[in-house]
Symmetry: C2
Subunit: 369 residues, 2 copies
């Protein structure tokens, strides 16, 4: 690679191989978020750093914020396990928009957990307790928010029934491929989740932003299509979305996965276990110290760098500095990991302490106690 071509990629907020995502603009019509950032005085670090990189119809949300119009934020979690770095990202985005004035909807996608992962409802409702406690510990405000389970929210099921009539098999296959009927049904329910904030009982039609990992875009395409088809009946405003990148797998495999425990960590693991995973993580470093000092390391393929970038450096300047020190070989991977372990440990301990205080509240929300 020539120096000049490398130069064009010298962007601490443009790692995570942005090229991997560029095709989404062209092929799926996702819009880049960057051009809208100047209009967002309160943009989050994830937005500023390109972690949240794309959107559909987000201008509508910006306008709602500007003119103090009612709007909603909607997202959720599939209760198949504890909070990890992806659900942490989504939760933070939901809370951010709630703080910007949105009414917040947070869905425990237990029907999806059943249809897609065969987790029975009796099991996922136990997992949901912890998930909700996590959300509350992160700052979700129950006074301006609604947390629910798909399996218990009759309105989303009824929306799914209403929607079914206007969804062909061809559409489903194009979006999800050939799957069993339950998976398709849970997709209709998810379209119901996305449009629930616009029902009469919640104040009627309104702009709604759905922050999700980019892998969830299919649900958005379906929900936007259905919003149009049922505009006359329900008055729906087309829902908006923003997309964050997926954090790299810790073990160098292509994707974080529950089947590879060393590829990710949850917020409920013991800090020592997390430290161990970070210590053993794949990096963008060179085989030897000598070589790294000489040619530098590569943050754009490094999950450790991603962790700083996505979550654990509050200050943009710290990211820029790390990026430079990494690329020039000034920073070695061991040192970089040690610092991260310190930050993550502090965060996780603090979070676990807070979370404990919300367990009872979470049970109450789920109707236990």
């Amino acid at each position: 690679m020539s120096d000049s071509s490398r130069k064009t990629r010298l962007d601490p907020f443009g790692t995570s191989s942005i090229e991997d995502y560029e095709y989404l603009y062209e092929e799926f019509g996702i819009q880049p978020l960057k051009p809208l950032l100047s209009e967002m005085p309160n943009a989050t670090v994830a937005m500023r750093r390109g972690v949240i990189f794309g959107h559909r119809g987000f201008d509508r949300i910006l306008k709602a914020i500007k003119v103090h119009e009612d709007f909603a934020v909607m997202s959720g979690i599939k209760p198949t396990g504890e909070f990890h770095l992806g659900t942490l990202m989504t939760a933070r985005e939901v809370i951010y928009f709630q703080q910007q004035g949105a009414t917040a909807f947070y869905c425990i996608a237990d029907v999806e957990a059943y249809e897609d992962n065969n987790v029975p409802l009796e099991k996922s409702e136990k997992t949901a307790i912890g998930n909700i406690a996590d959300l509350l510990a992160l700052g979700f405000d129950l006074n301006r928010g609604y947390i629910y389970r798909q399996s218990k929210e009759e309105r989303v099921k009824d929306l799914a029934i209403a929607f079914g009539r206007r969804v062909t098999l061809a559409t489903m296959k194009a979006i999800y491929g050939e799957r069993h009927l339950g998976l398709y049904l849970s997709s209709l329910i998810q379209a119901g989740d996305i449009l629930l904030p616009q029902m009469k009982e919640f104040g009627g039609p309104k702009p709604t932003v759905v922050p999700v990992g980019v892998d969830q875009d299919p649900h958005l395409r379906l929900a936007r299509d259905l919003a149009l088809k049922f505009k006359r009946k329900f008055g729906f405003v087309s829902p908006s979305s923003i997309y964050h990148k997926l954090i790299k797998s810790l073990d160098g495999s292509p994707k974080m996965s529950k089947r590879a425990p060393m590829s990710y960590f949850t917020l409920e693991e013991k800090p020592e276990a997390i430290a161990n995973k970070i210590s053993n993580a794949f990096t963008g470093g060179q085989p030897t110290v000598k070589e790294q000092r000489k040619v530098g390391a590569n943050p754009s393929i490094c999950p450790i760098y991603d962790l700083y970038l996505f979550h654990f450096f509050d200050n943009d300047k710290d990211v820029v500095k790390l990026y430079d020190e990494c690329r020039t070989g000034k920073m070695l991977c061991g040192e970089c990991k040690s610092r991260l372990i310190e930050i993550v440990t502090r965060f996780v301990k603090d979070h676990q302490r807070k979370r404990l205080q919300y367990i009872d509240k979470a049970k109450e929300i789920l109707g236990f106690s």
Copy 2:
């Protein structure tokens, strides 16, 4: 046709071209009901006359009756219009089994009416008032029965969600052909209807008979398949069914249809209007009186004969006599129709009077007023 071949068909209870139904035995595995009749001391006229001609697993119901075991009867109506001769048949069967000791479940299939016929729930709930009043007027006992709407019965929706995971697209296409997703979803809900009587809240697993027109068999095949697949989770007993033939169209067209108002009548029409439809009905008669006196008429293609056979002659001897008089040319079509008009008018007037008294109760069941 030679005399001998005609002779083999000389069966007053074997008209309605039984051949049309024979392939169902071979191709779909429906069993003939006749061999079981001797074990039914209280067989209905429709059973004795071969109008109810086939079954799946009905021996299980016979046994339950014999040993006074708990069992259920389940059927329903798609609330797209008033009671007609087909829904009358089903209602009578439900009431019959209720009188034999079954707990009765009667479903207002409003989700199916929406998915299949695009009738909005707001509209079908009005139609349902009359349907339920009809059922009560015919003798349905609320003390041993449960009437509900699919759209309001969360348990059938939840069963549909449970079932979805085990239903492939290939299965759905094989049973229903290529349809939109809503139609498939309503089929899952109907499997939920059929298995609802076996849920814990209703006393758990039990034999259940579903009396339906033979065109509804696809739903039974799906429900029986799902009962097997979810036997471990819910303990389901495979549901049984009995099938009645479809009454011939009054206007000589292949099938009674809402699009052809002269092809059928409802129990809510003015008696004069019904009389007019019967007067103008197609028959198995000859072009001239002279010819009919000479060669006789053909009851096996005659909807008027069907009406006597299916519904309006209580006494089997009257059917046999009519059949003979028709075939020998002793009875002319005009006279036969006049007599039917008299009987139908008496029945309909009486029914309409009774039905009026149940309208308030029907509204109460639906949660109005």
